[in-house]
């Protein structure tokens, strides 16, 4: 099952407007350092990379590390210069990969 995400940005923007994009994904971000109930360390399970593409062009990307808390949240700005699609991609341990697409309208 795909992880739950919260993605928020203005559905319509004026051409050239700077808009804020905020995204959260449900992910445990298990650091690999915590002991489980049996005392042995839980295997690491984190997101490694997040990227946002605007009509195919990467406008924001980030690398994630074990010290980042569960359910990572990103907020960033971009210049809305044309309508199209925002694509959000998360990649992580154990082959985790998720892509979400949202339309953006520019008037």
């Amino acid at each position: 099952m795909a992880a739950r995400t919260l993605i928020q940005f203005p559905a319509t923007a004026r051409r050239g407007e700077v808009v804020q994009v905020r995204v959260t994904i449900a992910h445990p971000m298990e650091s690999g350092f915590r002991p489980g109930m049996d005392g042995r360390p839980l295997p690491r399970d984190i997101l490694r990379r997040f990227a946002c593409r605007y009509n195919g062009e990467t406008v924001f990307s980030a690398e994630l590390h074990p010290a980042i808390a569960a359910n990572p949240y990103f907020a960033f700005h971009l210049v809305a210069d044309q309508g199209g699609t925002l694509e959000f991609e998360w990649q992580g341990d154990h082959g985790f990969a998720q892509v979400e697409r949202r339309p953006i309208q520019v008037a």
Binding site: R4, T5, L6, T24, A26, M29, A69, A70, N71
Partner: protein, 253 residues
């Protein structure tokens, strides 16, 4: 003079979550600005991930032969105000039940499904969704004479010293509220935001999980989830917070 000063202090302490002149404070007001912002803005509040999950569950029948939540209740908004009046009396069990137990009872009686264990993610998701419908409404337990003795018993539990440390809820959350315990502010303990997203947990938790932490902290044996005594304590807390605004889903450090 002293009384006048106390009145001024009470006015200063008055907040958005309690009516002006009310000395009761939500723990929200003692949080840092960034944590407050997380709760205030749905786009930042990780608890909304659970609310979104709850909405999925709401419309999905757990088996082919049973109805979904929506099949009986309609839209989640139909349950506006419900979370604000729980715990409430259950006729069949002839005892008060909290919202978690209510959801599980619905699941057993009308959907023919086994009850979820305490703190199950899906149970928390539905509780978050139902609680969210009452956000901003005043906590309003119904004046039910059958509930009164249970709430009174709950108050007795609140004031009962317990555990190896022999501390009662009241000793921290009334006598020492506003002080600090190991660097953390001691809140007045008004349970208006549950279930909460707690940064320390990195996840959602119910009031029971919070109370379990407190009880284990004073080296007492925690009440079982959904037990009569825990529900009695919840009933007293609801009376104690009556009139304060429901914050669900809250964020706490």
């Amino acid at each position: 003079m002293r009384r006048a000063r106390a009145a001024v202090l009470a006015l200063l302490a008055a907040s958005a979550w309690a009516a002006p002149g009310d000395a009761r404070r939500s723990g929200f007001e003692d949080m840092g600005a960034s944590t407050q912002a997380m709760q205030r803005e749905d786009a930042m509040n990780p608890a909304m991930l659970w609310a979104a999950e709850g909405e999925q569950l709401w419309g999905r029948a757990p088996s082919a032969s049973s109805r979904s939540c929506a099949g009986c209740h309609g839209e989640p908004a139909a349950l506006r105000g419900v979370a604000a009046r729980y715990p409430a009396w259950d006729e069949a069990l002839a005892r008060p039940v909290d919202l978690n137990t209510r959801i599980n009872l619905c699941r057993q009686r009308h959907q023919g499904q086994p009850a979820w264990p305490a703190e199950h993610e899906q149970l928390l998701s539905l509780e978050t969704l139902v609680g969210l419908q009452s956000r901003g409404m005043p906590v309003a337990p119904r004046p039910d004479p059958r509930m009164a003795p249970h709430a009174a018993r709950g108050e007795a539990l609140f004031r009962q010293r317990m555990g190896q440390l022999e501390l009662s809820c009241a000793q921290c959350h009334e006598e020492r509220a506003g002080g600090r315990l190991a660097g953390s502010p001691i809140p007045q303990g008004h349970a208006t935001g549950y279930p909460i997203y707690r940064l320390e947990w990195q996840g959602m938790g119910s009031l029971w999980r919070r109370v379990r932490g407190c009880m284990a902290g004073v080296r007492a044996e925690p009440f079982a989830a959904g037990s009569v005594e825990f529900t009695q304590l919840e009933a007293y807390l609801a009376n104690r917070a009556a009139g304060m605004a429901v914050e669900t889903p809250g964020v706490r450090p």
